[in-house]
């Protein structure tokens, strides 16, 4: 039995979450093969080949895969599925898009967002916005699984790189075409894998970036936001932390002006250290915070930024 991992990458480098998916795959104690789908993916494939525990890297390159679409990715994975008993990926938007389609093509169930693998077909996954954990057992011959990257250790670097093999790309599904994208071009670390996340709620208003930006930069962290701050237009969509946004588990999470709705807690309550800054001493966020400061955030956030400069 072997494990196939669908790599997540931006065309230039492997995302940190894939390293953790490789870490999660150790649970099966079986050969791990990593699939890299894209266009001109030599650098990404080389990154993947360096990961400890990876036996082989499969590259599928074609111009039409420069922005891989679910239909094409699913067709490629299905064509390989006969050789694998586990098809795994980190729970990214690419995997959430493509892997259920793979499972549908293979007529098997899928396990989404596993936070633990307790036996070869037994998983723990959050349900109801992380308010409950369900332990589930799959009876399918092929296990299609996404894992919550932050719940698993990252694979180390191998002594010698794995072999890289190029495979031909199937023809594009012509019924769907990529039109354009608008990506965040920030120099800050990616939200899902940042060591520090500084998050704010709606009460920052137009001063969201002005106040949180310097604090995040001081800490080398990423900026997160509540759904309310995003909906009000103070922060971009991709900064949303929560059940419907990104799930993070950094070493340090600073929640400023965040009340602590279930939807938001689902996305950050596994952080190692949580700091809450809120003017309301009864805010729910204080129940999960290791260190709470009851203060006006327009005073406290700049003060904190300044204190860190010393």
């Amino acid at each position: 039995m072997s494990v196939l991992i669908l790599a997540d990458h931006d065309g230039r480098q492997l995302k940190a979450a894939t390293r953790r998916a490789v870490g999660a795959a150790q649970a099966w104690n079986a050969p791990i093969h990593v699939l890299v789908v894209g266009d001109d993916t030599a650098a990404v494939a080389a990154d993947a080949a360096q990961l400890e525990g990876v036996a082989r890297v499969l590259r599928v390159d074609a111009p039409h895969l420069a922005h891989p679409l679910a239909a094409d990715v699913a067709n490629i994975v299905r064509s390989l599925a006969g050789d694998f008993q586990v098809i795994l990926a980190a729970h990214s938007t690419q995997a959430k898009d493509a892997l259920p389609r793979v499972a549908g093509l293979l007529d098997v169930a899928m396990i989404a967002d596993a936070v633990a693998i307790t036996a070869p077909a037994t998983y723990v996954r959050p349900i109801y916005a992380g308010n409950l954990l369900a332990t589930v057992e799959s009876s399918d011959p092929v296990q299609v699984v996404t894992v919550r990257a932050t719940s698993f250790p990252a694979a180390g670097t191998a002594a010698a790189p794995a072999a890289i093999e190029s495979l031909p790309a199937p023809a594009a599904d012509t019924r769907v075409r990529w039109v354009s994208e608008a990506k965040n071009t920030s120099d800050r670390p990616e939200l899902a894998s940042a060591r520090v996340v500084v998050s704010g709620g709606r009460s920052f208003g137009e001063r969201f970036e002005e106040l949180l930006g310097p604090l995040a930069d001081k800490l080398g962290g990423a900026i997160g936001a509540t759904r309310a701050a995003v909906d009000a237009g103070f922060a971009p969509n991709e900064q949303q932390v929560g059940q419907t946004g990104t799930v993070v588990a950094p070493e340090l999470y600073i929640a400023a002006g965040i009340s602590g709705a279930q939807q938001h807690l689902a996305g950050m309550k596994d952080s190692q250290v949580i700091v809450a800054i809120n003017h309301d001493p009864d805010a729910a966020i204080f129940q999960v915070a290791d260190f709470g400061l009851v203060a006006d955030l327009f005073d406290a956030v700049p003060q904190l930024t300044k204190a860190l400069e010393k």
């Binding site: 690419q94 499972a103 954990l133």
Partner: protein, 249 residues
């Protein structure tokens, strides 16, 4: 063009849920239920396409237990034309079974577009739409935050890690709806009363020939480990001191 919208009845998003004492399942007795919020967004989008003259008829479908008409009544009150339910005799439906039953409904209704929520807030699986697209061999667009019908194509802007992406799909297609696609309209009381008079067609799941036996067994449901209570600090200086001492700075 006819639009099919799938709606699910779930525990209201404001209700805290608990595990049953024996850990066998989620405690659902006497818990307030509501339409899944993402499905409400899907219904709203279908209504807007009808108001623009793009859609001619909107059919809402719900699957499963006898109580699921609640979600359909809500959709009817919002303005969908017709509703149908697939009766499964109370079986617990997993995404794979949902997709198969929806496929049977699609084959019966022949819609030009299927709209579903991106995920249900109970099981948080986020799979049914993609599985349905796979089984129908239709194109899919997930996590839609904008949807335009241009001729025989659906042009969809999707929320992806790190930003947004726009793709174009040849119809028929499946689109799963994200939070920022729209703000669903409020249901007015008279419309809710009128919706109670609209018939809901009931299909028997047995007649679809779909095998909806669960492939995944739920072994245990439990509350996650609670975090230890923290402390309140009096000043920014004390906060920095504590953070330095804990080693995260």
């Amino acid at each position: 063009m006819k639009i099919l919208v799938a709606v699910k009845r779930v525990v209201d998003h404001n209700v805290p849920v608990r595990a049953k004492p024996d850990g066998s399942d989620v405690e659902l007795d006497g818990v307030r239920m509501n339409i899944n919020p993402f499905d409400e967004i899907a219904v709203e989008e279908a209504l807007r396409l009808k108001e623009k003259g793009v859609a001619t008829e909107i059919v809402a479908v719900s699957l499963g237990s006898a109580a699921s008409p609640e979600a359909l009544r809500h959709a009817l009150a919002m303005g969908v034309d017709r509703a149908l339910t697939v009766e499964t005799g109370g079986a617990f439906l997993q995404p794979l079974a949902v997709a198969k039953l929806l496929k049977a409904v699609v084959e019966r209704e022949q819609p030009g577009l299927v709209l579903v929520g991106k995920q249900a807030i109970d099981n948080d699986a986020g799979q049914a739409g993609q599985m349905l697209a796979a089984m129908l061999d239709w194109p899919q667009a997930t996590f839609a935050s904008e949807l335009q019908i241009e001729g025989s194509e659906a042009v969809v802007t999707r929320e992806v890690d790190g930003g947004v992406e726009t793709i174009a799909l040849a119809l028929p297609a499946v689109v799963t709806c994200d939070l920022r696609l729209n703000a669903p309209r409020f249901v007015k009381l008279p419309n809710l009363m009128m919706a109670k008079k609209k018939p809901i067609e009931v299909l028997d799941a047995a007649e679809t020939g779909v095998d909806f036996t669960p492939r995944v067994k739920r072994l245990k449901v439990a509350a996650p480990e609670q975090r230890k209570a923290g402390i309140k600090v009096a000043s920014v200086a004390e906060l920095v001191e504590k953070l330095r001492a804990s080693g995260v700075l």
